[in-house]
């Protein structure tokens, strides 16, 4: 394998990879014989890279057949069929039945073996060049969606020409339009004109089939780039919130931050609504969409909490959640490397259950993550001694965490049971101890336990926040972690590449909890020592004790 310099970010151009392609494919063939679950990470990565490179090469060669004419001068009959000494691929494909007939005729006469060879060669050449076009189907079918759902690639039409007596004229015309685009590559004006003509004809046919209706909206969605814009505005909101921490009396900062976070949330909601309209689906039907939805609903809850309490804490949480959520969404999209609006597997093809179970459970995730975020803020503030004397600050954080958990519990419990009812409708059992089901149950159990511990007086403020922070990792386990186990019926949600991000989050949350706990123990033991000393001196303890 040719050796090239390893780059810092391991990103290489196709030109750099090209000398290694043969070796890459050889390795991929070797690793492909190993069961996917048994492949080492590097083997899996090589395999995946080979598939991507292969796809790229296919796309690169997609128009190879369209760039030049094929020689049809080999026999008088071929010249007669095509009316010229050469013909473009579209014409050759259109005349496949005639050429096949000619072959049949020539094969009966041994003296014309050379001409038979010429006719065969023509078909072989076209087949070879058109054969690599399978991955891109840009030609709408002439039939209705019900009868012919799939669009065609040139190789499909070639096959059709071989199978049928004659290829329909509109298909030949469409192939011709592609050829005109390919041959106009060096002439911008001609390229633009031929592209416009091709575009128009594809749109016309797609409209006839009722498939174009949502396309302008989808184009607007991508052009508006609402998710990236939302992230930018969330960052602005976060900066204003940070300013507010430094200058708490500046009202303009408060209202500016409110406006920014609200605007960012509105942009994100707009993106989600557009996706719903394009897909004709409820807001959550893929793992990617859960991230968008959790971010939008989480920031909405926080803004509502801010509107009720006006303590500035919820506003800060909303800004932080918005920034983190959309960074995760971007990271996930990059890692997943797939269309974020894919087709759904058969079992998910039900808008009723997607709208009820999936939406409810995702709102439960959202509340769990928001509570974990608020509690993390509490633990950090406690360890760093921020606002130690401000009891109202801690109380507000606790109230917000409790309220969010209570709100989340309703959706987690109802969402989990609805999931069971859906499973009963689809698979014939309410509960099957499938990893994803268990993850949802774990969230419910953690939240119920937390509320009961508080009600029983076993935990107070500090304990509640420790539990809520831990609850965030339970949500993350249920949301992404169980998908990494690679078992279970919810195989449509499996994702690779999020392992590191997930363990980083576990590490941060558990590390924070450990530090907070050690800090708590030290403070408590110091307080106990002070109390003992005061008791020994015959005094009562002062008012500087911290509540737990």
């Amino acid at each position: 394998m040719p050796v090239f310099e390893k780059k810092k970010r391991d990103r290489y151009s196709m030109a750099e990879l090209r000398p290694c392609v043969e070796k890459l494919f050889e390795l991929a063939r070797q690793y492909g014989r190993i069961e996917e679950k048994d492949r080492k990470p590097v083997e899996q990565q090589v395999f995946a890279l080979a598939i991507n490179v292969n796809d790229y090469l296919q796309l690169e060669n997609h128009f190879a057949h369209a760039r030049f004419d094929f020689d049809t001068s080999g026999t008088p009959e071929l010249r007669r069929i095509f009316g010229a000494d050469s013909a473009p691929a579209s014409q050759v494909i259109a005349k496949v039945p005639e050429v096949m007939g000619l072959r049949e005729l020539l094969s009966r006469n041994p003296e014309r073996a050379e001409e038979l060879k010429t006719a065969t060669m023509l078909l072989q050449e076209v087949s070879e060049l058109v054969g690599g076009t399978e991955s891109l189907a840009l030609i709408p079918s002439l039939g209705s969606v019900e009868k012919e759902a799939a669009w065609h690639s040139p190789v499909d039409l070639l096959q059709r020409a071989f199978e049928q007596e004659k290829l329909e004229a509109p298909y030949v015309e469409m192939l011709g339009r592609f050829e005109r685009v390919a041959r106009a590559a060096g002439d911008p004006a001609a390229f633009e004109a031929s592209m416009a003509s091709l575009h128009e004809s594809v749109i016309a046919q797609a409209s006839t089939r009722g498939e174009y209706e949502k396309i302008p909206l989808e184009i607007s969605y991508y052009k508006a780039n609402l998710i990236q814009n939302s992230l930018v505005v969330f960052i602005l909101g976060f900066l204003l919130v940070a300013g507010l921490w430094l200058f708490p009396r500046v009202k303009a900062l408060y209202w500016g931050a409110n406006l920014s976070v609200f605007a960012a949330m509105a942009l994100l909601t707009g993106a989600i609504v557009m996706r719903c309209m394009i897909r004709e689906r409820p807001p959550v039907s893929t793992l990617y969409e859960t991230i968008l939805f959790v971010t939008a609903t989480g920031t909405l809850f926080a803004l509502v909490a801010e509107w009720i309490g006006r303590h500035r804490l919820a506003l800060s949480a909303a800004a932080i959640l918005g920034v983190i959520g959309l960074f995760i969404a971007n990271g996930y999209e990059t890692l997943d490397k797939k269309d974020t609006m894919p087709q759904l597997v058969a079992v998910l093809d039900t808008n009723f259950w997607l709208a009820t179970h999936v939406t409810a459970i995702t709102i439960g995730y959202s509340a769990g993550m928001l509570a974990a975020l608020v509690s993390s803020v509490y633990l950090i503030a406690r360890v760093l001694g921020i606002k130690r004397q401000d009891k109202e600050f801690s109380k507000n954080l606790t109230r917000m965490t409790y309220g969010t958990l209570a709100f989340g519990l309703i959706f987690s419990v109802v969402g989990t049971i609805l999931g069971g009812i859906w499973a009963n409708e689809s698979w014939g059992r309410f509960w099957g101890w499938d990893p994803k089901e268990n993850g949802a149950l774990l969230i419910c159990l953690a939240q119920i336990l937390m509320l009961h511990l508080r009600m029983g007086g076993y935990v107070r403020e500090f304990g509640l926040h420790m539990f809520a922070a831990f609850g965030g990792t339970v949500v993350a386990f249920s949301w992404f972690g169980v998908n990494l186990l690679g078992v279970g019926l919810h195989s449509y949600g499996f994702t690779s590449g999020i392992h590191t991000a997930l363990w980083t989050y576990y590490g941060i949350e558990w590390g924070l909890m450990a530090v907070a706990f050690v800090h708590y123990v030290i403070v408590r033991s110091r307080e106990a020592a002070v109390r003992e000393a005061l008791a020994a001196a015959g005094k009562t303890p002062g008012a500087s004790q911290q509540g737990t």
Partner: protein, 399 residues
């Protein structure tokens, strides 16, 4: 003294401390059972962690005894009933909690009814085939059948639980007045294959007519296990024995003759008779265009009951409910079928008396939670409004 003990015992059983302990244990079992599924199949995990009273969890070299989820949920039921309903303070502030607890009790009852009384299996049919029975995915039975002079087939069936622990010295004996013999099961192997006994092969089980059952490790997916048993038919008149190997994947039953009567003996998946029959007319699988991803699959069946036919389409998320049974589109095959090849459709069949209980409990729980937390939210909003109003008044006065 006794009364005090009973009171203390009931106090303990209804305590919130016990609730917290049980919730923690259930969470722990759920988490361990989830992780264990990576190495062991769901069926084994379910038996070990969730259907059990007691278990030993191995964390590396350390064996940790734990109560099983069945025990935990049983105690949780009692705890909830006593503490969460009977002894709960009943006033306007606890109505929501009470309703929620009733809903959770309903859910646990639903789980128990399903666990104790439900039957589930599948009926697999090629297009054109008909059946009025469905068979278990997991359990086996030994069936002795006899063709009666009237033309009917009489079957004497013994469920797996009666012979699954059979070993030499503690054999399982299956008796019926309709049979002139007893069926003695000496060995039962949950997963095995039949092998010829060659000179280089050692066997720790009996060899019958040159063959023996070679025990295999259990498959992660329990459906993949093929059970086997050693049986002896013992003549009730004279004690004469006829021994054989029964294997779950055998195509035909073992046929034997006793006093001029012919019997077929077989080990097969447990079967149940449906009060109607289903015939598969057409199975349709549709993929998304140009993808290997299934878009839908459905079975057109004819349900025949009491001489009347009814055409029904069973598809994902749209099962057939008939006479207490629910038939679901579960899978299809063969997976390597080419276009035009005959396909089979597997319909999961469930008889669950608690089929709709979860829906009712969900509604009750949702109502309870909304009542309780809605009340709390309302109080919180009112308190915050008052606080904000008083802060504004103070600010006005100060200015």
């Amino acid at each position: 003294m006794t009364m005090r003990f009973i009171e203390k015992f009931v106090d303990g059983l209804s305590s919130i401390w016990l609730s917290c302990t049980l919730l923690t244990l259930l969470g722990l079992l759920t988490w361990l059972g989830t992780l264990e599924q990576v190495n062991t199949g769901l069926f084994e995990v379910q038996r070990k962690y969730f259907d059990s009273i007691f278990l030993i969890h191995k964390a590396g070299p350390i064996a940790i005894p734990l109560p099983g989820a069945a025990l935990v949920m049983g105690v949780l039921f009692v705890n909830l009933l006593l503490g969460g309903i009977l002894r709960l303070r009943k006033d306007s502030s606890t109505w929501g909690i009470l309703v929620t607890h009733v809903g959770i009790l309903m859910l646990i009852v639903a789980g128990y009814v399903k666990f104790a009384f439900a039957e589930d299996g599948h009926v697999t049919l090629y297009e054109g085939e008909r059946s009025n029975t469905f068979e278990s995915y997991h359990h086996w039975e030994i069936a002795a059948s006899e063709a009666l002079p009237s033309g009917e087939l009489r079957e004497i069936v013994s469920k797996q639980e009666f012979f699954e622990n059979a070993v030499p010295g503690a054999e399982a004996r299956l008796r019926s007045t309709d049979l002139p013999f007893e069926i003695e099961v000496t060995h039962f192997l949950a997963n095995c294959r039949v092998l010829p006994k060659g000179p280089m092969v050692s066997a720790s089980v009996p060899v019958i007519e040159g063959y023996f059952l070679d025990e295999q490790p259990k498959e992660a997916q329990n459906e993949g296990n093929i059970a086997g048993a050693y049986v002896a038919l013992v003549d009730r008149a004279n004690g004469a024995r006829k021994e054989a190997i029964l294997w779950g994947a055998s195509r035909d039953p073992w046929t034997v003759e006793f006093g001029g009567r012919k019997f077929g003996i077989e080990l097969r998946r447990e079967q149940w008779v449906m009060p109607f029959s289903v015939a598969l007319e057409d199975f349709e699988k549709e993929d998304h265009p140009r993808m290997m991803m299934p878009k839908s699959f459905s079975s057109e069946v004819v349900v025949t009951e009491g001489g009347a036919d009814r055409k029904v389409k069973i598809s994902m998320n749209e099962p057939l409910r008939q006479k207490g049974l629910v038939l679901y589109q579960a899978s299809w095959g063969p997976s390597n079928a080419r276009p035009g090849d005959p396909l089979f459709s597997t319909l999961a069949v469930v008889r669950n008396p608690a089929d709709q209980y979860p829906l009712y409990s969900c509604l009750v729980i949702a109502l309870g939670l909304v009542m309780h937390f809605g009340r709390k939210l309302f109080k919180h909003i009112r308190a915050e409004s008052l606080r904000n109003a008083s802060a504004a008044t103070s600010a006005q006065k100060a200015s």
